[in-house]
Symmetry: C2
Subunit: 450 residues, 2 copies
């Protein structure tokens, strides 16, 4: 199959049509031609009341695969529509690490049945997996690996693999361990296939593969995979014993989630917000964020309130003041986004924060000069009052410099306080630029105009 | 080596110290212990005047590897500090697809020398690669693949590989082609290693591997890799002939760039903005964006200007009006971020836009009722004027609904106009919520209060 976006769009359109027409047969037919990942996408793109219609058409084996692919926010609804026996049938054939991912959604009864159906080795593996948090290397790994000893020849390895008959999906290397299961190297399949088969494993293995402690964060794992172009990497316990391997396909999901996080969280959205989640739940989540913003907006308004009598005398101030605040917010957000991103990627740290600040201040000085002049010209053309023009120009310059300062300092402080910079920095920044903008503009106006 | 973030942070700290102390020997020593990717990170984290100090310490082979790892925005500066002969020595040993990535930075003289140093096959490969845009499957692929025929036995394949002596990095499968080089299947290395070696390739190969047309976009490629958990995939020309393969490590870079894009572009930043780029260049880029925002802020101010006489009569309006605009902006941004993200991921399309709109409107109705009441209570406590409270409550409700509408409609329209929704939607949205906010609040006040 040549992967073809249009083809899939057409298939989706046909499925939408089958749903409209209540044509269960056409629906089942269309779904049977899709990859589980595409079925998951289709289910996410339709409204919740229709999801059950699609879901009931699928066979349990496909259900299991699709459950792995859909967003975590819609999994509970899909699981809720299944009988316990159906769930066991759907989940049991999956890889151990995939079963571990689904465990949080399952009832105790279903978990017990699945555990009963697994063999002893798989049950132990599942236990190990569940003992690590989901966002760690241990939670990300697959316990299924192929291990060999250092002193055997490649010929022996080849015969062993053929007798074994199966190598876990996405594996591109075997792991070399000692008697105590401690990792000593990594034997790439492509090396095994090209080196002289008389050689011993120890001669051709990679002796210092990048490896991870089971407790390391999944973000650190993702950063290393990206940096060192890894396909698979071993996960070790504190004694250096091999626990499992992480494959790049799971890391890609972590990277995608991080991307989600950095886009959704600054807007006060939940990372896994589903476009068809119940209205009540969504409204509640968003209301919280709007409440925080209301408080900051009221604080900024109180600043304006201080200058009521000045505004009464010069109404033009009320007209122009949002410009000063808005430009500060926009300029500050540019600095902020750059710094938060740099902090996430590790290029901005406390070590070079002073240099970053110096550079952002230099940029803001140039821009504050430019926009002070422009807005002064606009103000003088609009209101024909040179002193008003001077006041707004000065206020603009002050606010743009304050914006640059805040854009660098706020995320560093927020992080030090142990809060996610992506979540809190934006609100804090616009509060500062609103307050500084209104205060400098209306304050200067009170001195020079009122 | 156990990958250890602290270890690298320590190494960076020592390198910073060596730079401070002008200790070239310690610097060279420290750098020699780092992976090229880490050297790239270190160079990006120091100011441009010091980068040359670090750069000159590296050997040409390492320079080549580091050039591949650093951000495109700082490559030109590094290349500028190298002699032509040094550049040829750095670039020539790289893989053909990596050379292709660096070509845009090189002078004609250097390119000619490198072409001269390549053998005929590699020169042809480089030509093919350069004929595809960087952001297509063709630009992303590595022309180096291992191909086999369908009718030979696995034994023969094994012997062929051992004689060939090398398989390209990250390869996890061989490609099966016919006489005309047309792709007919994919033979996974792990299948080759476990199946009975008497079997023929055609019996055990994967007959319908996901493949890409050379002209497909790199984003579509990344989405498929993510969805179908691919490690490598073949790239074909229009006749279905094999041109090369894409490996997941390059796809990870595409995903990371997309993430950059979705964070940086909405703030009006360049995707590859370097935290130490020259101040003048940065200021110019940002000024453009601030200019666009100034125009929209002035338009919003002109709306306020229409109501000058109303404000003169009731100064409280000037104090409270930013609250209405700000809440609209925040609520609208939530909807907008969700929709833009959904469009990028393909879960929001024109097919279900109406449903998304209905849901966002429902959420905004609930929230508009809530915040209308809250702000009315705040206003009545603050100014003791029930009618003012009624006016601001009503304006808030109107603006929150307008915000939800704009958050869904604006990105769809912007995309239809052929503009990047990430770039233009945010500015358009806040312009709408400012205008609607000021107009509804001041307009209602003019009717009921003035």
């Amino acid at each position: 199959m040549t992967e073809d976006t249009n083809l899939i769009a057409n298939q989706f359109a046909e499925l939408h049509a089958s749903l409209e027409n209540d044509d269960a047969q056409a629906l089942a037919m269309g779904l049977s031609q899709l990859h589980p990942a595409d079925i998951g996408d289709f289910i996410e793109s339709i409204s919740p009341d229709r999801r059950q219609l699609v879901w009931q058409v699928l066979s349990p084996e496909v259900m299991g695969e699709v459950l792995l692919e859909v967003s975590e926010s819609i999994r509970p609804d899909l699981v809720a529509g299944m009988e316990p026996a159906q769930l066991v049938e759907a989940v049991h054939p999956l890889d151990t690490d995939d079963i571990a991912d689904l465990i949080p959604e399952l009832s105790d009864e279903v978990i017990a049945e699945i555990l009963f159906a697994l063999d002893k080795q798989d049950r132990q593996r599942l236990d190990t997996l569940l003992s690590y948090a989901e966002d760690t290397a241990g939670g990300l790994m697959n316990p299924d690996t192929v291990t060999v000893r250092e002193n055997i020849s490649l010929d022996v390895v080849l015969r062993y693999l053929r007798r074994r008959g199966e190598i876990p999906e996405h594996t591109n290397s075997l792991f070399v361990v000692d008697r105590n299961d401690r990792l000593i190297g990594k034997l790439l399949l492509r090396v095994l296939l090209t080196e002289d088969s008389k050689k011993r494993v120890g001669e051709v293995m990679n002796r210092e593969p990048v490896s991870f402690q089971a407790t390391e964060s999944d973000k650190a794992v993702a950063a290393s995979f990206e940096k060192y172009n890894l396909i698979t990497a071993p996960v070790l316990d504190e004694q250096g014993r091999l626990l499992g391997q992480i494959t790049v396909d799971d890391v890609v999901d972590v990277i995608r989630e991080e991307a989600h996080h950095s886009v959704m969280v600054p807007a006060g959205l939940r990372e896994d917000e589903d476009i068809f989640a119940p209205v009540a739940r969504t409204s509640k989540n968003r209301a919280l964020w709007l409440g925080v913003n209301l408080v900051t907006a009221i604080v900024a308004s109180m600043v304006i309130g201080v200058f009521e009598s000045t505004i009464q005398k010069v109404v033009a101030l009320a007209v122009l003041m949002p410009i000063v605040a808005s430009m500060g917010g926009n300029a500050g957000t540019q600095t902020l986004v750059l710094v938060v991103r740099g902090m996430a990627l590790g290029t901005v740290s406390r070590q070079n924060a002073r240099q970053v600040l110096a550079r952002e201040l230099a940029v803001s000085l140039l821009n504050s000069f430019l926009w002070a002049v422009v807005i002064a010209v606009v103000a003088v053309l609009w209101y024909k009052q040179p002193i008003l023009a001077l006041v707004i120009g000065l206020a603009m310059a002050i606010n743009l410099v304050a914006a640059a300062l805040s854009g660098v300092i706020i995320p560093l402080v927020v992080k030090r306080l142990g809060v996610d910079p992506a979540l809190a920095s934006g609100v804090a920044l616009t509060t500062v630029t609103d307050i500084v903008g209104f205060m400098s503009f209306l304050g200067l106006a009170t001195v020079f105009l009122a």
